[in-house]
């Protein structure tokens, strides 16, 4: 699997504490995408066995979240990851820019095996930072396995900021433009 970025602990990409994986590579090219750095092919190659072992070493997580990039453009690897992680007793939250009617058999298997899935392209004209777990109102949240329920979904604006030991900052989630600008200015003040 080709990986662009990882975060061991996050609480804003799904329920509970989660290990988050940004896959590398996406050809959907949604206008206004904030993660264009994950569009090109490349990134860090990892075997599913190594990745799962790494995830298993992280204590206290409820599950993993896979986003990107486009996880379903590496559907075979994504399916193997989902099945391995679920076998380890963790839950899976997957983001995809595809609509369910676009799925092939493997993509459908990824969807069916995941506990929560957000589907659909990001559409900038429908951007809404007050949605939970998604960026535009057309994107749909599904709970295919019944492990979670949509009734647990409370719409809210979520941002996660990590301050590392050396004072460096990482920003995740759905910040408004003011917060993004402020983080950006941190380096210029």
């Amino acid at each position: 699997m080709w990986i662009g970025h990882r975060s061991e602990h996050s609480t804003i990409y799904g329920p509970g504490l989660r290990y988050v994986i940004w896959t590398q590579g996406c050809t959907l090219a949604c206008e206004g995408c904030w993660n264009k750095q994950f569009w090109p092919k490349g990134g860090t190659p990892v075997t599913i066995a190594d990745l799962v072992e790494e995830i298993r070493q992280v204590k206290g997580i409820e599950g993993i979240t896979i986003l990107g990039g486009e996880p379903l453009q590496q559907a075979n690897a994504t399916l193997e990851l989902i099945q391995s992680v679920k076998a380890a007793g963790l839950t899976v939250f997957m983001y995809t820019g595809y609509e369910p009617e676009e799925f092939d058999e493997t993509m459908q298997a990824c969807f069916d095996s995941s506990d929560i899935v957000v589907t659909g392209r990001y559409i900038e004209s429908q951007r809404n930072v007050n949605l939970r777990w998604r960026g535009s109102t057309n994107q749909m949240v599904h709970c295919p396995t019944g492990r979670y329920s949509l009734s647990e979904l409370i719409e809210q604006n979520e941002v996660e900021i990590v301050v590392n030991q050396d004072g460096t900052i990482e920003l995740y989630g759905y910040p408004d433009s003011e917060i993004r600008e402020w983080i950006g200015n941190q380096s210029a003040t």
Binding site: T11, Q24, N35, Q37, T44, L67, Y122, V163, E170, I183
Partner: protein, 204 residues
């Protein structure tokens, strides 16, 4: 889509080590004149022949390092590595640059590799100094040993300064984050994950 955004930093406290790290990474930067003087003085210490010349060269090296400790560094620096020019700006004791997370630019990897070389050079300088002290002590040249001891204390002081600067920066950054998020109506949950501070901010 969600944002993934990180800041990258270069250490500044020991600019000499930063200089060595950038050059070791195959890069160049617009170093201030004192760095050029130190490069020459350092070369002179290894080229000096005889105890007396070694003492003189080391004293000059120590003098310049003392000057560097109090020198005002440029507010911005331009680092060029592998054909890519990065402009860093001073921010709380570090040269900083904001960039989206990911691997497309390779910028983070470059900065990370420079930071690792920086840490390695800090240890290297320590080792060099220890070795020099041992050599001079063997020659029972007490005065020179004191000079080198002084040189080592400069380095140790700078190492401590790095740790203090990091702590100070974390305190300032967390205070600002809490103020900014609260002012925007976010509920904040703060937790420690290992040695990281994580803010989860929610606004309904």
């Amino acid at each position: 889509m969600s944002t993934v955004y990180v800041q990258v930093h270069l250490p500044i406290t020991n600019v000499l080590c930063l200089d060595m790290a950038i050059r070791e990474a195959g890069g160049t930067w617009d170093a201030p004149e004192i760095i050029h003087e130190i490069r020459r003085a350092k070369a002179a210490t290894s080229e000096a022949i005889g105890t007396q010349n070694t003492i003189i060269a080391n004293n000059e090296y120590a003098r310049l390092l003392q000057s560097l400790a109090t020198a005002v560094m440029p507010s911005t620096i331009n680092v060029k590595v592998e054909g890519r020019t990065m402009r860093f700006t001073i921010n709380r004791g570090r040269y900083s640059l904001s960039t989206p997370a990911g691997t497309q630019s390779g910028l983070q990897q470059t900065v990370l590799s420079i930071s690792k070389l920086y840490d390695k050079n800090m240890k290297l300088i320590e080792n060099e100094l220890n070795k020099t002290i041992q050599t001079l002590e063997q020659q029972k040249d007490i005065l020179s040993a004191e000079q080198v001891q002084s040189l080592r204390s400069v380095i140790e002081g700078q190492q401590n300064a790095i740790q203090s600067a990091n702590k100070e920066r974390v305190v300032e950054v967390t205070k600002e984050i809490e103020e900014k998020l609260a002012a925007r109506g976010f509920e904040i949950r703060k937790r420690m994950v290992g040695k990281k501070i994580v803010y989860q901010a929610v606004r309904r």
